[in-house]
């Protein structure tokens, strides 16, 4: 097997890298660097350069280190890359390690006050008089630390050639046009840029941000906002939640969008959002609202999902529609609350005791966060069951460049509902009777249709209590039939088939971005691959077909156990020997490099 040359360096003849490098801002958590980092991302985006920002932050309010990575990629790759070329070293506690990791030839911006002794001669140090500049800005004492971050924004802008006009308009965007705040921040940006221009004129500008036209028509959004927006267009009317990182910002976005999009002319709302006392109550509220006929959702993360287990079983067995978003973070236990993972796949699929199985949607990008956001409610009503949507911290809390979202292409599907008037036509009606052969009964809503007794205990097709073995078996058989219907209704997987592919790759969710890049790298090394992206559980026939095509299929995922690989082996035992699990979970989004290396290691065996 040939060695694979990764990422041929795109330096120009004079040694300049244009729009293909990474910046890291290493700061102290709570010091207010978010506006600074977002401003850089937005300015680059507005210069037409494909860009991605990732926040690696601690579970902490103030004091622990945090790193923000900005990747510029003229080829449009938006996955994380682990190396970086420009460093804003603003955290004295981590500066030594941060500087050590800086790529050779890189630039290190740091406060002059540190009196840093250079440890490397292959990088350029740019000491900035941060304290002095902040003093000069006249910022109020409470704002000093916050605006100090603008010094590295200005320095980076000057060194990279980011247009200051774009910096100013990005600042205005994030500070909602508040002139005083914009002026104060921009004063420091300009000051820092001018300082670098004068003091470091002879430092070679080896990393350049040059205007392109690759972001026209695109938007920048976080996955949690996209999900909330999707739910708003899905007609959600009751939401309940308990604060938990990294799902909280989805509810924050839901509140903001509800004000804007779901307030009626009389000032009243069509979406009520309840902060529950815990995740058990949040699940109970959405089950209660779903049973009553409202579209309901909750958003949580791993520990909350564990608490929702009992109610999920009730929803499955009493057949109540609702939507449960899991913005996954690292476990077991409290794990790493601010680090990403895909560790809840098996848990969500089988959540609750007894023979429970759930429909799970797996969005991989911003458009799918939005689309599954509304579609989940249609599926919940159609299938009369809780629908799980598994996003993760990487998708949910980072800014992603994406095409704008498409308006829902079909009207809201409320599924099979029977009213008092319908009953006269039907004659007889059994809530759990499978009239149509798809395993789905006709549901009736309080106040709108004939009464039945919903329960989590054994029941007949007429919803009466039963402990009879035949009633139990018949009901489980019907639920199995309904699950087969779900198999046909959930979003289909997407396959990219290469004619001469040597092996296949299966993945889902946020690993899509690094896989796209990894496949290009492999292809460039004469290893074309086919790719099958699962978008929902239960799995469908298309996945079996894909597995049948290749002798080796790598299942790539961001968890320790290789959960999807396990699920595939259970689902397709006759094809299990084709599956090779490539899984890793250390709190960081996967990189293309790691995927390529891991696959090659197995291929070379």
């Amino acid at each position: 097997m040939c060695a694979v040359e990764l990422r041929a360096d795109k330096r120009t003849e004079s040694g300049v890298l244009v729009n293909d490098f990474a910046i890291v801002a290493a700061t102290v958590n709570g010091s207010g660097s978010q506006t600074a980092n977002n401003t850089l991302v937005r300015a680059l985006f507005k210069m037409g350069i494909p860009v991605n920002g990732k926040n690696l932050f601690p579970s902490n309010i103030y004091g622990l280190p945090t790193w923000y990575t900005i990747r510029l990629s003229r080829d449009g790759y938006i996955a994380r890359r682990s190396d970086y070329h420009v460093l804003a070293a603003m955290n004295p506690k981590t500066q030594a390690e941060d500087i050590e990791k800086l790529a050779s030839g890189g630039i290190c911006i740091h406060p002059e006050e540190w009196k840093l002794k250079p440890t490397r001669d292959d990088i350029t140090y740019i000491p900035m008089p941060v304290r002095e500049m902040v003093k000069e800005s006249g910022a109020a004492p409470g704002l000093k630390e916050y605006v100090a971050n603008m010094v590295y924004v200005g320095a980076i802008a000057e060194l990279l050639g980011i247009e200051l006009a774009e910096i100013r308009s990005a600042l205005s965007y994030f500070l909602k046009g508040k002139a005083k705040a914009v002026d104060l921040n921009y004063f420091l940006v300009e000051k820092a840029a001018a300082y670098v221009r004068e003091q470091f004129a002879d430092v070679p500008r080896n990393f350049r941000a040059e205007r392109m036209d690759a972001t026209r028509g695109k938007i920048l959004i976080e996955g949690n906002s996209a999900a909330a927006l999707g739910a708003i267009f899905g007609g959600v009317s009751v939401a309940a939640w308990y604060p938990i990182t990294p799902s909280t910002s989805m509810i924050d976005a839901l509140m903001d969008y509800a004000k804007e999009l779901r307030t009626e002319p009389d000032g009243k709302t069509t979406l009520v959002i309840v902060q529950a006392e815990d995740e058990l109550a949040a699940a109970g509220i959405v089950i209660g609202a779903g049973w009553m006929g409202a579209r309901s959702l909750t958003a949580t993360s791993g520990p909350g999902i564990s608490l929702m287990a009992e109610f999920s079983g009730l929803g499955y067995f009493a057949e109540v529609p609702c939507v449960i978003w899991d913005i996954q973070r690292m476990g077991p236990s409290t794990g790493l609350p601010t680090r990403t993972s895909q560790g809840d796949v098996l848990k969500a699929y089988y959540l609750s005791h007894g023979d429970t199985r759930h429909v799970v949607l797996l969005p991989a990008n911003m458009k799918e966060c939005f689309e599954f956001g509304w579609r989940a409610h249609d599926l919940a009503d159609r299938l009369q069951t809780p629908i799980f949507v598994l996003s993760d911290l990487d998708l949910g809390m980072n800014l992603w460049m994406t095409d704008p979202f498409d308006y829902p292409d079909q009207p809201m599907d409320r599924g099979k509902v029977i009213t008092y008037e319908d009953l006269e036509k039907f004659g007889t009606w059994g809530r759990y009777k499978d009239v149509d052969g798809d395993g789905i009964g006709y549901r009736s809503l309080p106040g709108q249709g004939p009464a039945y007794f919903a329960r989590g205990t054994g029941h007949t097709e007429y919803a009466t209590y039963s402990e009879r073995p035949d009633d139990w078996s018949k009901n489980m058989d019907r639920l199995a039939r309904k699950f087969e219907t779900a198999r046909r209704l959930v979003p289909k997987p997407i396959s990219h088939i290469e004619d001469n592919a040597v092996f296949g790759i299966i993945a889902y969710g946020s690993t899509d971005a690094p896989i796209a890049e990894a496949r290009d790298l492999l292809k460039a090394a004469n290893l074309p691959t086919s790719y099958h992206r699962i978008r929902a559980l239960p799995l469908g026939e298309a996945t079996r077909e894909f597995l049948s095509l290749y002798e080796r299929v790598y299942v790539v995922e961001n968890n320790y156990l290789g959960q999807m690989a396990q699920l595939l082996k259970m689902e397709y035992p006759d094809l299990a020997n084709r599956l090779i699990s490539i899984s890793h979970c250390d709190g960081l989004p996967l990189t293309a490099r790691w995927i390529v290396d891991s696959i090659l290691e197995k291929e070379q065996k």
């Binding site: 009317s237 009626e264 006392e277 815990d278």
Partner: protein, 349 residues
């Protein structure tokens, strides 16, 4: 509508129209008596069953919604979590009447947290606790409302003071708090009717003796020892369900305001009930709490309306939701327009 006769209510319906399925509880269970009083109250008030829904948690009491108002929707949920389901359901349709039935284990133990938060949010519903101090379905463990020093055959002596759900409700600013006894049909019925007319959460804690498991004497609440009973208990535990010894439901004679009466339980023991009288002003929160404290010290149950206040705004009112029930909103009011999406997209570009 049929002309109203003595046997029909304002809707022209006979009381039998408000029945549910046949009860599967033990013979003589106080819970059945409460179901009967819910039927009486709803029939007398002429309520339309289509606009009522019933909720419960898990336990003997929580089975009862199947035994009354057969034409109303019902949801038997999970143990201790009825309050959250009620919260979601009442928000989704604010036009319906919610009757919740729970037990002392369901509310006082596993569900205490949700109970308190329901009261705090003032979820509009009638919340009935059928309180027997034991876990019937799992054969007689103590609940959190069991008397201090009460003795159970297998579980020994309960060393902990009871949780008084009425007191918890008053402290949580519930604006309707009452206590009754399942064998006092008139008081039960009248309190249920009053609760149904109250806006916000109305709590009704109804002492409802367990005929099968809460039969251990030597309680500090004047339980006397019923000798023959231990033998019966053993018989009950070893015979298949359906062969449980027939017992009569406990009923009590009418008693006057301020009067204290002793009620003989299934095991021959006695409890003391004292009806509130005109000297108690149920609008006085401090007086209500004092009354409950005194009753606890004297080992008696105060019955009647213990506390009532001007209704607070309900959760739905505080949330500013539209007048049309959320569950009945059409797509035009739930899904913003194509233009609205375009506007949001433009703001993100």
């Amino acid at each position: 509508m049929t002309a109203r006769t003595a046997k029909t209510n304002a809707l022209g319906l006979e009381k039998s129209a408000y029945k549910g399925a046949e009860s599967t509880l033990c013979n003589g269970c106080g819970h059945d008596s409460i179901s009967a009083k819910i039927i009486d109250a709803c029939w007398e008030l002429g309520l339309d069953q289509r606009y009522i829904f019933k909720l419960s948690g898990i336990g003997c009491s929580s089975k009862t919604p199947a035994y009354f108002l057969g034409l109303s929707h019902s949801f038997n949920t999970v143990h201790g979590r009825m309050p959250s389901v009620a919260t979601g359901a009442t928000l989704a349709n604010r036009n319906l009447i919610c009757i919740g039935v729970s037990g002392d284990g369901d509310t006082g133990s596993i569900g205490l947290g949700q109970f308190k938060h329901l009261l705090r949010r003032n979820v509009p519903m009638v919340y009935i606790v059928e309180n027997n101090g034991v876990y019937g379905l799992t054969k007689g463990q103590f609940s959190a409302t069991a008397d201090e020093n009460q003795r159970q055959k297998y579980y020994g002596v309960n060393p902990f003071p009871p949780i008084d759900l009425c007191m918890e409700a008053i402290v949580a600013d519930c604006t309707f708090v009452a206590r009754s006894f399942s064998g006092d049909p008139q008081q039960c019925r009248e309190l249920i009717k009053a609760a149904l007319s109250h806006k916000g959460t109305a709590l009704l804690d109804i002492i409802s003796p367990c005929v099968t498991f809460n039969d251990t004497p030597e309680s500090t609440k004047s339980y006397a020892y019923g000798k023959a009973h231990n033998i019966e208990l053993q018989q009950i535990e070893h015979i298949p369900p359906g062969l449980v010894i027939q017992r009569q439901e406990i009923t009590i004679p009418e008693y006057a305001e301020g009067e204290t009466i002793a009620v003989t339980m299934h095991d021959g023991s006695q409890i003391l009930l004292k009806k509130t009288d005109r000297t108690h002003d149920p609008r006085d929160k401090q007086a209500a709490l004092r009354l409950l404290e005194q009753a606890k010290a004297q080992q008696l149950f105060i019955t009647g309306l213990i506390y009532i206040a001007e209704p607070r705004p309900t959760l739905g009112e505080l949330s500013g939701i539209v007048d049309t029930p959320l569950a009945e909103l059409p797509q035009e009011r739930l899904r913003p327009s194509r233009e609205a999406l375009a506007k949001v997209m433009a703001s993100l570009s």
